[in-house]
Symmetry: C2
Subunit: 496 residues, 2 copies
């Protein structure tokens, strides 16, 4: 038994490449949202692992028969749910190489190229984003590749917490306050809970439709002032560029100004929208980042980098390292002792880490910044086209202004009320509640068809359907079809 026999590796590897190429070729034929029922797999597989080897051919047959039907096809051109997870050939082969080398780059010496290429691509991408020098290694900061934004939030929260506690004393952990808006990703609340922020000190500030669900500096200021009056200590603000529900944009400059007065750490979460800021016409949306402490985006969302890949830049790496470094005798080495190298284990939660830089390197070089810009713009253009189609149908409304490539829309209460007055009986439901119920039913009906997959948000009490464009294979005809699917299902519901 040689599990890395080059001949067998070659044979099976080529087989899987063909399997996946075929998969992409036929992906539009699959229902986007898997239509299986909970527990579907248990009865299709044995209770015990096999004692003896099985041939790859058998396993691939089972994969096609039992696993693929249970997959929701995030790479389908008809996938418009959540945010995209945009894969690419370059991202894929970057991950293949990383998996093939299978090295554990916890510190510089464990594989110098892994660390050094990561520092290079983080400076490259930082420059493509025109991040201030203070965030780059070529300036006084630096960047690191993590798995997800949740990790970026966790490490910056720990650094912020420790920085503040070193001033006010560790016993005061229960006085620290973390600020977000009601549109901020739930990951911040989870991360704050993990690091021991008292649940009653997690401050969720209300936003409004009239100001496009952005966090207002005056609301932040007022919340902070109340807390300070109550003897609490403002510690961390997460501002978002491109919120999950509606891609709202918090005004970075003014928010940082408020936060700075209180010595808080400001993290900018641009998980989704950060990528498009490599286009000059979008760059202004992160103006003000120069006053933040850290900035992150998920290259696996909208930057053609296969899962997982979160890019985090910090102005003051020393504060991360202070909180997250470990000193084990078995990891000691002269390169680390020399302080001339980056040891990324001290920039993250975990010790082991994959060679993610290869993916980003491959994507940037294979496509080039100019093409990447145009590719992202093409999604924005498709979203504009979708928006136009929605606007032309009187039954629907665009719920909030579209900022990027996500369109939030719904069947209007008026269209729904007409239905309500007609055949559908909904007891004493108010028009808005009825509209929510009908839009939920519409979305279920669309997704149940398997033709497209969209998801929802509820903002200001209103249920909206989100059409998030950005799957790599999506092209204009898919978007046109998607809207046709929505209309057909709306017709069916109205005529029911």
């Amino acid at each position: 038994m040689n599990p890395l026999d080059p001949r067998e590796f070659r044979r099976q590897g080529h087989m899987i490449i063909d399997f996946l190429a075929d998969y992409y070729q036929n992906i539009a034929d699959y229902p986007v949202l898997s239509q299986v029922e909970p527990g579907y797999l248990r009865n299709l597989v044995p209770d015990f692992p096999p004692l003896n080897p099985e041939p790859i051919e058998t396993i691939l047959q089972d994969l096609q028969q039992h696993i693929v039907p249970g997959i929701t096809h995030w790479q389908s051109p008809n996938y418009f749910a959540y945010f995209p997870s945009s894969g690419s050939t370059a991202g894929f082969i970057g991950e293949m190489l990383s998996t093939g080398f299978n090295l554990v780059g916890f510190n510089w010496v464990s594989s110098p190229a892994a660390t050094e290429l990561e520092s290079v691509v983080m400076d490259w991408l930082g420059q493509a984003l025109k991040l201030p020098k203070a965030f780059l290694f070529s300036g006084s900061g630096g960047g690191v590749l993590l798995g997800t934004t949740c990790e970026a939030l966790l490490v910056t929260l720990v650094a912020a917490r420790d920085k503040m506690l070193s001033k006010i004393g560790r016993e005061n952990i229960s006085r620290l306050v973390v600020y977000v808006s009601d549109q901020t990703h739930c990951a911040v609340q989870k991360a704050a809970h993990i690091i021991g922020i008292h649940p009653k000190n997690f401050r969720v500030i209300k936003t409004m439709k009239s100001t496009s669900f952005a966090l207002l500096p005056e609301s932040l200021l007022s919340a902070i002032q109340t807390d300070v009056q109550n003897g609490l200590v403002p510690c961390y603000l997460c501002a978002t560029v491109g919120t999950t529900s509606t891609t709202a944009i918090d005004p970075l400059g003014p928010l940082c100004k408020v936060a700075k007065k209180y010595g808080m750490w400001v993290h900018v979460d641009a998980a989704y929208a950060g990528s498009v800021c490599i286009c000059p016409e979008f760059r202004q949306l992160i103006d003000g980042v120069e006053d933040a402490n850290s900035f992150s985006l998920n290259a696996h969302k909208w930057f053609l980098t296969n899962l997982d890949c979160c890019c985090l830049w910090v102005k003051d790496p020393a504060s991360l390292i202070k909180s997250l470094s470990t000193h084990s005798v078995y990891l000691e080495n002269s390169a680390s002792d020399s302080k001339q190298v980056v040891d990324y284990k001290d920039w993250q939660i975990t010790l082991s880490r994959r060679f993610r830089a290869l993916k980003v390197w491959l994507v940037l070089r294979s496509y080039g910044v100019a093409n990447l810009r145009n590719f992202l713009r093409s999604h924005v253009e498709m979203a504009k086209a979708f928006e136009e189609m929605v606007r032309k149908d009187q039954r629907f409304e665009i719920f909030v202004p579209r900022n990027f490539a996500v369109v939030c829309f719904r069947l209007l209460p008026s269209a729904v009320a007409k239905v309500g007055n007609g055949k559908v009986q909904n007891g004493g439901l108010k028009t808005e509640d009825l509209a929510n119920e009908m839009n939920r039913r519409l979305l279920d009906s669309i997704n149940g068809s398997g033709s497209v997959y969209m998801t929802h948000a509820i903002v200001g009490g209103v249920f909206v359907i989100r059409c998030a464009i950005g799957a790599t294979l999506t092209d204009t005809p898919h978007v046109v079809k998607a809207w046709k699917v929505v209309q057909d299902h709306a017709d069916a519901i109205q005529n029911h």
Copy 2:
């Protein structure tokens, strides 16, 4: 531009398979430990990312020329450092498929197969390990695939913390105590710091060479009693089966007995050695696990599963979920509402997650449990052979009994003293210090040659060289050669 064009995907994919197959074929020719200097890469790459696309051929050329020399070859048959990161064809293609589907399986509905296959393989592997039913889905527990042990420690620590705080009140976080031995992995201290355990309440209990560096139950009890007398609250114990320095084994049963009396959470970290417990003759080493709360191993260490893959089983999933669940309106779905499905996002730190189950499924099916057992045994046999060779050379000693496939050895003080009395002048250094210094020099010399790569540990003040056998391509001739390399360098140092 179609970054997922099946034709181009196929072309480049096949190219990379051949690149990696060639890499494995020639891997023994590379220096195992990269011999580059800090900062080597900066001058080899441009300061800015390219504006325009570059052909894959150019990128691969750069990869071979600039990146490969900076890689420390963890897959080399001459790699004996740290712990192995054992890749395999099955592990590799499992990761390829996961990367190709590129789905984000945060909850059941986002891709049912990802969740259900994960539950299946965790029960499969749990059965192969003869874990008590209480840790399996087929019992009342369950398992989850995380990235690394650091994450397993963090999630179990948070669950343990919250469970205790729900009894004694959240304001008492500064009273919680976490227990480890001085041989426990530094990841526990880091995770405890992250979750807000007061640094003065991180209790490191001394171990001794005479008891093989195992954590003694009586030492634990005495530490706990002192803490309780001081008004502190014992919360969490991490017991290790196969410590990093010397693969020491903490006695699980007696430790759990002590911890249980105080209502503590016990986690068993078998990151390295857990895998080999699928062999009946090693299974007894985790006897007592039935009284622990959680158990984890890294399948990417010694189970042919490419990075990253930590398997964590817990008896009470509800306690994890209570601490780590999030409720976002945009993730609501009827499957989750039905409570009939597992939503793994609530079992881990991050929201997004890769489809890791494919790797474990591929490994278990491609090799079968019987072959996997024999493969692991072959490493243990090679380690025995290495140990025998060391014993035969009077200059060396085996420092601690070998438990698995790691041999801890060193040049004896007597051999060194002879050198010291001969040509080497070391001022006033004591014999033991001199021995440490000579062993360090020996290891540097070995690794500097590039022929093999081993690392060190310092235990009980003694610098030992660790030869960790388990790289997938390692076979007996490599081990024989490795010992020859050690001897040759020892000769050279002695004759210097």
